[in-house]
């Protein structure tokens, strides 16, 4: 065996081999041992179900609606969470003012907000977005706060003696870039939590469309192969969003922190 192929095997080969083996075992178990499409759809069942939703276009409608819900939730969590975290981390009074409220609301599981989401916003996109927002906003606030609180004093003093003396430019030029790694990892956590909230919100009736809603709908129709397709799509999509975010943040925003993974 040449050195190159050995290297290839240790590089990507093992991962691919492992995936392929898992698929083969799944197919054999589902088709020959369980042999019940309802209990465990096989790989090929799922593949056909996938082709079917691509063909009818249902996938793209639900995908775009789920991404819309997710986008509404995450963007509003950023718009509201970052300023709150910044003010809490920078101004002691703001911290004391916000902290008790946040500590009381934060432990409420986001899904417990579903009834109010429906009462307040009805069965709209805003409603599902709101549940995502509730899940995403706290990790963003808390990580922004942590990042701001642990800005090394030396950078603030260095900026002051260079003539950057008031809060706004200090926040903008020193504290924010210094806190960015922490904020970025908060956003990553928030997207993970938000993604889970999205599916739950769509399943439990805050929406009448979307990937999560489709899981529930096909379950009622006892089409477990479709349920599994949507589950896998949700998994892949979550992975993809996370990867794109990390690629952007590590490669562009945090180039100065070489080798650090958020």
């Amino acid at each position: 065996m040449s050195k190159d192929s050995a290297k290839g095997l240790s590089g990507r080969g093992i991962e691919l081999l492992s995936l392929a083996t898992a698929i083969v075992i799944w197919q054999l178990v589902a088709a020959h041992i369980v042999a019940d499409k309802f209990l465990l759809p096989s790989f090929t069942d799922v593949l056909f179900a996938f082709l079917r939703i691509v063909e009818t276009g249902a996938l793209f409608t639900d995908l775009s609606i789920s991404l819309l819900h997710f986008g509404i939730g995450i963007i509003s969590a950023l718009v509201i969470g970052i300023p709150i975290g910044v003010s809490m981390g920078w101004f002691k009074t703001a911290n004391r003012a916000f902290d008790p409220i946040i500590e009381i609301i934060r432990p409420i599981p986001p899904l417990a907000w579903i009834p109010f989401a429906i009462i307040w916003f009805g069965l709209t996109h805003i409603s599902a977005g709101f549940v995502v927002f509730v899940g995403a906003v706290f990790p963003i606030i808390i990580n922004t706060f942590d990042g701001f609180k642990s800005v090394p004093k030396i950078y603030v003093e260095a900026a002051k003696v260079l003539g950057c003396m008031t809060s706004v430019p200090l926040i903008r030029h020193v504290a924010f870039p210094s806190a960015l790694p922490s904020i970025a990892s908060g956003i990553r956590i928030a997207m993970g939590v938000g993604w889970m909230c999205l599916v739950a919100a769509e399943m439990f009736g805050v929406s009448s469309s979307g990937l999560g809603y489709k899981i529930w709908w096909h379950y009622y129709l006892h089409q477990m192969d479709f349920v599994l397709v949507y589950m896998l799509i949700l998994g892949f999509l979550g992975l993809l969003i996370d990867r794109i975010f990390r690629w952007y943040v590590d490669g562009r925003l945090l180039k100065w922190r070489a080798g650090v993974v958020v």
Binding site: Y155, E157, A158, A159, K160, V161, L162, G163, W256, R257
Partner: protein
């Protein structure tokens, strides 16, 4: 002009148990324009505190410090500072670090870039223009920190053990470079060090401080001709004298 006048400055720090420690006790000193002053003293004697007070980072409890007759209360760009720790902004490239001061002064992008290039050249790091601080060695980082402080064209450059973390050879090189910079820029330099060798090589005047609470024990004029020979017998004699004084303080 860069004349610093320290008059009867006292400063105490509050400790957690409610007591306070006196860090500076009635310190008075006049620093003339374009002078190179070194503060030396046992560790914890308040030399860094005095420097930070000149910078405006600490406020004295009593007394005052003036720069060219103007009272110092807050930090501003007339006094540049180089810290002991690495204080470059790690998220900015070398050139962005150096333009920071001029930008904060409200200079245009072009102007501040021009200014920064000048000082980058002065410290000889043009080829590292777009590097991030983590890519630089300790000595290079402190060179950039000096360029960054100078880019504001301050009247006084305050340096807090800036070469303390460097190895002996880099340290010597940077001392020589600093003297060149000082000769070219004609500014006042106030330099805190714990190294007798460094003080003897650099300073016009060495201010020896007592152990806590910090007072001025003695001000020694260094008459050695420049460029100085680190190993001359006169330098040795002065070092000997200083070491004796410091040993005396440590005993107290």
């Amino acid at each position: 002009m860069g004349e610093v006048k320290i008059s009867d400055v006292s400063l105490a720090f509050d400790k957690e148990n409610g007591e306070s420690t006196l860090a500076l006790d009635n310190v008075s000193l006049e620093i003339r324009d374009k002078e190179f002053i070194c503060f030396i003293g046992p560790s914890g004697c308040g030399k860094t505190t005095l420097l930070r007070t000149i910078a405006g980072l600490e406020t004295p409890d009593s007394g005052e410090i003036t720069l060219d007759g103007e009272r110092i209360t807050v930090p501003d760009s007339k006094r540049g500072m180089v810290f002991q720790e690495y204080s470059l902004f790690p998220w900015n490239t070398v050139i962005q670090n150096i333009t920071f001061g001029p930008r904060m002064q409200g200079m245009s992008k072009g102007e501040s870039l021009e200014r920064a290039e000048k000082y980058l050249k002065l410290v000889g790091l043009e080829q590292f223009r777009n590097s991030y601080p983590y890519e630089l060695s300790g000595g290079m980082r402190q060179r950039v920190a000096i360029a960054r402080a100078l880019a504001n064209e301050p009247k006084v450059l305050l340096m807090d053990e800036p070469f303390g973390a460097l190895d002996a050879q880099t340290r010597n090189t940077l001392q020589n470079e600093l003297l060149d910079v000082w000769a070219k820029n004609q500014i006042t330099i106030v330099f805190v060090t714990h190294s007798v060798d460094e003080a003897v090589f650099l300073a016009d005047k060495i201010v020896v401080m007592t152990a806590r609470p910090g007072k001025i024990k003695k001000v020694i004029n260094v008459e050695l001709p420049r460029p100085r020979d680190r190993t001359s017998s006169e330098a040795n004699e002065l070092r000997h004298k200083l070491l004796r004084m410091l040993a005396e303080e440590r005993r107290n």
